[in-house]
């Protein structure tokens, strides 16, 4: 089954995403912040990353850049509930840095799951 890494500092939210994904038979790896995620990241063990953007330690935008370096084919979904507005807004920046999809909080968990399914579907994998 595909392996999804969830990087989110808010523990309840992370738990909720994890529960939903396990229910859909995904293997879930989790990290409480960007620094943890990067230090334990195994490219061969991860197919997709869901990452928050505003986090302590290492912020999400840097995490996206570093993950892209470590595994260019990695699928990334960025989630955020704040950040700056405008063209320099966090979600827009995440997109520009290579996130395949972005969702602003609060989002529907089903929307997140359909995004994940879409990104991991065979036609997306080339």
């Amino acid at each position: 089954m595909p392996r999804v890494l969830v990087i989110e500092d808010e523990i309840e939210l992370r738990e909720m995403i994890k529960t939903s994904l396990i229910r859909r038979k995904y293997t879930v790896l989790e990290a409480a912040n960007g620094k943890d995620a990067l230090s334990h990241f195994k490219p061969s063990m991860t197919d997709l990353v869901v990452t928050d953007l505003i986090m302590p330690e290492e912020d999400g935008l840097k995490v996206i850049m570093k993950l892209k370096e470590l595994k260019p084919s990695l699928k990334i979904i960025a989630i955020s509930g704040g950040g700056k507005a405008g063209p320099g807004g966090y979600l827009n920046l995440a997109k520009a840095l290579g996130a395949h999809a972005v969702l602003s909080k609060p989002f529907s968990i089903n929307d997140l799951i359909s995004k994940i399914e879409e990104l991991l579907s065979p036609e997306q994998e080339n």
Binding site: E10, E12, L13, E15, M16, I17, T19, S20, R23, I54, I79, G81, G82, G83, K84, A85, G86, G89, L91, N92, S104, K105, P106, F107, S108, I109, N110, D111, S114
Partner: protein, 638 residues
């Protein structure tokens, strides 16, 4: 030479020795004045050396010549003859005149003609003494010019200057002071007392005491009353001055109009305050969004475990409804704190304004009149049209609410003004050469200054608890700031309020992000064509065909021509003619399979909730929705 002449009356005449004559000749010749003796025929009888030097000729060349020969006929008749005649009749004449002198050009002289009565034979000669006062005169003229210049400076400076006596009675006030004080009668100010400009007498007395003690005092900003009784903020400095004898003292005041300074300062404080609140509220909203995601996520998981339409699932859907309402509030806070990304396209302000006015007019009481004057119509700004619609709706709704009780007029104007003007008026950096300037003026109940200064703060409301969240104007402020525009307000109790909106004119047009793939058909169901027009404006060029229906029949008809079935349905539930239960029935009857996006108000009706639980709805949005939200809902749905 003729010592007798030195004795005016000639009564004590005595023989003059040649020694004495030499002395007197020396005195006369070394005088710096031109001295001459003139007879009744206007002929020079005698002249001194100074005279010769001034005319650069010898004594012989002058003596025996007439004054007309020496000074010219014109000068003689115009300036000299009459004075000489008067002198011969016994008068001593003294006057100032300027004459052309050889080698020195025109110079100023002081001329004295003194009658000479020699040996009691009557006035036969006169003594002319002409003193060169050119340098003194020149200095005098310079001083006078400087004085004039200083006077002009004091008059033309935008700084008021007032001199008064220690009791406050005004001795002198310059033009600028009259202007600042809105006084058009120069004479009345001279009778006035400076004390009368102070809201309380004792304030002037305190300043007076300080001045008498310290001589120079900067009083800072003082609130005065001008001639028509209006309060005006002035920056005042005082100086203690004395007259030349040091016996009488004066109080000199320098008065500057500080209205603009005060206005700019208040605006800065206001903006800083709103920024601080924004940062704080934005942070809270961010945390709330995390929590809301968890709540909505778990409720979705619970929903999956429950059979549809069960009692518990209805309760869980209430949780989801509450999450959406909370989301709408956090979203508004984030909009205020400029933390929501806006999808901006070039929008015609006139079009959005007209749509909003159409929308408003359909629901206002008959005692309120809405009038508008657009000086330019086809000007575009970069904005999310739905957000701009919100800005205008909020401002107009506020105006109408202020007039609800007694009725009145809402006047809307729009014009394009130069960026330079905005820079001067607002003292802010400009981002465009031109700005759209929109005003909303009502004749409602107006606001107290204490309300006015807090009007853009989130959750600040004058309405009763439960009526309105107090976010409307905060959101308006946030949207306008995000557009790099500016909003100002002025208000007077019982007279009304006026909002001024400045929006930078779009320099380059950003083309709407185009959805890829074949053109999709969207069926848009809304009771109000204004709202649908706003949406179509937003979705222009995005690769969608928008079909708008407002009633039941239209909705049914949309399914009748089989192959033209919509790819997506957007349903604004507050559409009057298409009720949620109708929507569900028609949808199911036609075996439609298009995904639905439902846009509801914050509080859902029972039927709306039923519809939401029916499984038809793919996305549920709560008003107010932004272009970005609609776009991402569409993307997630198709």
């Amino acid at each position: 030479m003729k010592p007798k002449e030195k004795q005016p009356s000639g009564r004590d005449a005595k023989k003059v020795t040649s020694h004495e004559k030499e002395i007197s000749d020396n005195i006369i010749n070394h005088s710096r004045s031109m001295i001459s003796v003139i007879n009744k025929d206007y002929i020079y009888e005698k002249v001194n050396l100074a005279f010769c030097n001034a005319h650069n000729i010898t004594i012989d060349q002058i003596v025996g010549k007439s004054l007309a020969d020496i000074w010219g006929t014109q000068t003689f008749y115009d300036f000299i003859k009459n004075n000489i005649d008067r002198c011969f009749s016994g008068e001593t004449i003294k006057y100032e005149a300027s004459f052309e002198t050889p080698g020195y050009g025109v110079r100023y002289f002081e001329v004295t003609f003194r009658p000479l009565n020699i040996e009691g034979n009557g006035i036969t000669y006169l003594l002319a003494e002409t003193f060169d006062i050119h340098d003194t005169k020149q200095r005098e003229i310079e001083i006078r010019e400087k004085e004039q210049e200083l006077k002009k400076l004091a008059t033309n400076l935008p700084i008021g200057i007032v001199r008064c006596l220690p009791d406050g009675s005004i001795i002198h006030a310059n033009r600028a002071f009259l202007d600042i004080m809105d006084c058009y009668d120069e004479n009345s100010i001279k009778k006035a007392n400076f004390r009368s400009f102070y809201p309380q007498d004792f304030l002037f007395d305190i300043q007076c005491e300080q001045l008498l003690e310290k001589h120079i005092v900067n009083f800072g900003r003082v609130s005065l009353h001008d001639c028509i009784g209006k309060e005006i903020s002035c920056r005042i400095s005082g100086f203690l001055a004395f007259d030349s004898t040091s016996t009488n003292s004066f109080l000199d005041f320098v008065v500057e109009d500080a209205t603009r300074e005060l206005m700019l300062e208040n605006r800065l404080i206001q903006a800083q305050k709103l920024e601080t609140i924004g940062a704080l509220a934005g942070g809270i909203a961010h945390d709330f969004n995390n929590i809301l995601t968890t709540i909505s996520g778990y409720s979705e998981l619970i929903m999956e475990d429950l059979p549809q339409n069960s009692e518990i699932s209805e309760k869980v859907s209430k949780i989801q409804g509450a999450v959406l309402r909370a989301k709408s509030i956090t979203n508004q806070i984030l909009t205020f704190s400029r933390q929501v990304e806006q999808d901006k396209i070039a929008v015609s302000v006139g079009e959005v304004l007209s749509e909003t006015m159409g929308f408003i007019k359909s629901s206002i009481p008959s005692n309120i009149v809405v009038q508008s004057k657009f000086f330019q119509n086809d000007v575009k700004v970069l904005a999310d049209p739905t957000q701009l619609f919100r800005v205008f709706i909020n401002l107009m709704t506020n105006a109408i609410q202020a007039m609800e009780e007694h009725g009145g007029t809402l006047s809307v104007t729009m014009e394009v003004i130069e960026g330079k003007l905005v820079k001067n008026q607002l003292n802010k950096d400009i981002v465009a050469d031109e700005y759209v300037f929109i005003t909303f003026k009502d004749t409602g109940k107006g606001m107290e200054p204490s309300v006015l200064s807090r009007i853009f703060e989130p959750f600040f409301t004058t309405r009763e608890i439960g009526k309105g969240t107090g976010l409307g104007l905060s959101v308006t402020y946030g949207i306008i700031s995000e557009m790099e525009g500016e909003i100002l307000v002025s208000s007077k109790r019982e007279e009304g309020s006026e909002f001024f909106v400045y929006l930078p004119v779009a320099r380059q047009y950003i083309v709407n992000e185009i959805f890829t793939g074949p053109k999709k058909k969207i069926l848009f169901i809304a009771g109000n064509k204004h709202e649908s027009r706003m949406l179509s404006m937003a979705l222009e060029n995005t690769g969608f065909d928008l079909l708008y229906v407002s009633d039941r029949q239209g909705f049914v008809k949309a399914f009748s021509s089989g192959e033209n079935n919509p790819d997506l349905i957007i349903y604004m539930t507050e559409s009057g003619q298409v009720k949620p239960e109708d929507f569900m029935n028609i949808y199911l009857q036609n075996k439609a399979d298009a995904p639905c996006i439902i846009i509801t108000n914050q509080n859902c009706s029972i039927f709306e909730e039923k519809l939401l639980n029916s499984g038809i709805v793919k996305q549920h949005l709560v008003k107010p929705v932004s272009l970005k939200e609609i776009k991402s809902a569409i993307q997630l749905s198709v």
